[in-house]
């Protein structure tokens, strides 16, 4: 009886392996996808449209679609239209990798925009690299453009790296005269990395001191306790490496109500209108946020982008999901215009060529063979809030 099982199993295994090997094609190391004659250029997007990160994925998608329309209305890429194919990764890295696989092999996209989270991008990157398809990643997570990774050649960052943003926040706080600094961060990759980086800098740098550090889970129901703890430490400034507007807004409001009246420096993700609604106009006057758009003087292109997003029936967030969602598409289009051929490899070489690429940012994007971070902290603009609207920080503080 037992023998039958073993025999059956072995025979089946042998049959499967034989059928697998016999029918298997050689492992073709794909060198990316191309674009057929007369066909539109297909670009894939893997974004979190549901799940915990939908707050970024949904506006990113809206902005990306608007960017596609913009490119097509302005002559496309050498007369060819571009087309966006969107997949939902459900805030799940496994689904991100599967979606990328499907977009590359079944939909034939020549590049992928995404993912909305760093871990989604890290899950997709090996798949994309294996097939030779570039990924344009709107993430700040540091590992995404690490030169030591095997997939480095294929992943290009369209946001600003946390490694640049956080020291920029710190420098700005110091310039504004802060010596006692408190840190309020959320428990995710951004928050944890920032807290650790700031601790390291604290040990090396005598010009400032971290007097309190409080963290909060992503779906926090209440941040008053953290606000009180920070208030009691009497800091000159608070750094907020956060991406959740709900948490940030709550913190600002509670801090304001309990008498913590110092500048609060926010990372890119916090630059969204929703934080003014959640925190209340009074509390956001203390907010200083780095952004890639000067709300008092957006570039004409940026102004146009926001108008287009509104015309498409979406509410612009005012912050990075719009900008980096749209920029990821725009950078692809601009690079393709420079490319030798309309294909994944052509795109990749064009990106690495170092040519500046115009997009909806304060400065152009620029990559190189060793540098896949298109923007540095130099492009950051400092903003604050007056009368319920974002304005430039300089001249208002």
């Amino acid at each position: 009886m037992r023998l039958r099982f073993f025999v059956g199993a072995t025979v089946s295994v042998a049959a499967l392996v034989l059928s697998g090997c016999g029918a298997g094609t050689g492992e073709a190391q794909a060198s990316g996808n191309g674009v057929a004659e007369g066909e539109p250029i297909r670009i894939g997007a893997v974004l979190s449209l549901t799940g915990a990160v939908a707050a970024f994925g949904v506006p990113e998608r809206a902005a990306a679609e608007v960017a596609v329309d913009y490119v097509n209305e302005n002559g496309g890429v050498d007369g060819r239209e571009i087309e966006l194919v969107v997949a939902d990764d459900m805030s799940d890295p496994t689904q991100a990798a599967r979606a990328a696989q499907r977009l590359i092999t079944d939909e034939g996209v020549i590049a992928i925009v995404g993912a909305s989270t760093g871990s989604g991008t890290l899950a997709m990157a090996p798949v994309a690299a294996q097939h030779g398809v570039p990924v344009l990643a709107p993430n700040g997570t540091i590992g995404v453009t690490d030169p030591r990774e095997d997939f480095f050649s294929y992943v290009f960052r369209t946001s600003v790296s946390d490694e640049d943003t956080i020291p920029a926040l710190l420098e700005r706080a110091k310039e504004d005269g802060a010596e006692r600094i408190a840190v309020f961060y959320q428990e995710d990759a951004l928050g944890r990395f920032s807290a650790e980086l700031l601790e390291r800098l604290d040990a090396e740098d005598d010009e400032f001191e971290i007097v309190a550090s409080a963290s909060v889970p992503l779906e926090a129901t209440d941040v008053s306790a953290q606000a009180i703890r920070i208030r009691n430490a009497q800091p000159d400034a608070v750094l907020m490496p956060l991406s959740s507007v709900g948490v940030g807004g709550s913190f600002l409001r509670t801090a304001h109500e309990t008498g913590l009246n110092v500048p609060m420096y926010g990372a890119l993700a916090v630059a969204q209108h929703a934080i003014i609604d959640t925190a209340g106009a009074a509390a956001t006057e203390n907010l200083v946020v780095a952004n890639m758009v000067n709300p008092a003087e957006p570039t004409p292109a940026q102004q146009d982008l926001y108008e287009r997003i509104e015309a498409a029936g979406h509410e612009p967030t005012g912050g990075f999901p719009d900008l980096f969602g749209a920029n990821s598409v725009r950078v692809i289009a601009e690079a393709l215009k420079l490319a030798d051929e309309l294909s994944s490899e052509g795109l990749r070489e064009a990106l690495e060529s170092g040519e500046p690429l115009e997009a909806w940012a304060t400065v152009p994007y620029s990559y190189g063979p060793d540098n896949h971070d298109g923007l540095s902290a130099d492009g950051l603009v400092w903003t604050t809030v007056r009368d319920g609207d974002f304005v430039s920080a300089d001249g208002n503080l």
Binding site: T221, Q226, R229, V245, T258, G259, D277, G280
Partner: protein, 281 residues
Amino acid sequence: MSSLLNFLAIGVALGALYGLIATSMGLIWQSTKVLDLAVGGYAAVAGMVTAAVGFPWGALAGLAAGVAASLVMGVIFLALQRRGVTDQISAAFASIGLLFASTSFVLWYFGTDPRYVEFITGTWLLGDISFSRQGVFNVAVAFVVVGAVLWGMHRTPAGEVLRATAISPRNAQLIGVPVRRVQLSMFALSGLLAGGAGVLMVFTRGMSFGLGLTLTIAAFGAMIVFGVRGLVTALLGGLVIGVVEAVGAGYFPASVASMVPLIFIFAVLVSGRFKLEGARP
């Protein structure tokens, strides 16, 4: 010391809301032995509707939305009963299905932005301790509401019917009580309580589409703290959970603080104090 008292004050205000949701869960548990894991979803829906309609009518709209959501669970429960599916796991999974659906509904209809509605602002200072005024209001409402429910259950004829049905639906049916209607009204009442918590939360801290599961877990912890005995213990349990969370958040990094309610739930469950039918002797 004043820090600790501040954290206590925060914890009690937060805990009042957990307690309301825990009472909501406890009501259903007492009357139908169903573990309704969608209660956090009722609160989330109620909060978002309140924000969408705006102050002041939003509060009523939010409560109505909470009741509507809980009635959906009530109908599902009755359908399961009719099908002869009476085990607790199936009912709990049905409520999980409703939690998924309500989270998705909020995301689909209201979008990803968190919402906040200003109601009572400002703080009272007592020495070094600041009491958020909205928080004090929340605690007062929670106690008044739970008190009213208890009074209704124990001092009115309708309440007696509810309790009799909860003790034994079959006996109640034999004496002519419309059991199905009574059970549905329990679900509606539970929706009112959880919805109320959602409305208060959108006034206090704001509400976003993802909070449903977090609130459910906190409410469950609150319900089992003192053993599943009654509504008062559920409310008090909420206060305990709120205080533990606030004090933990005040002194420890969030990663540690988040683990505390979970470790607590695990410990209480393992100790066997959460008494249910079907426990192996």
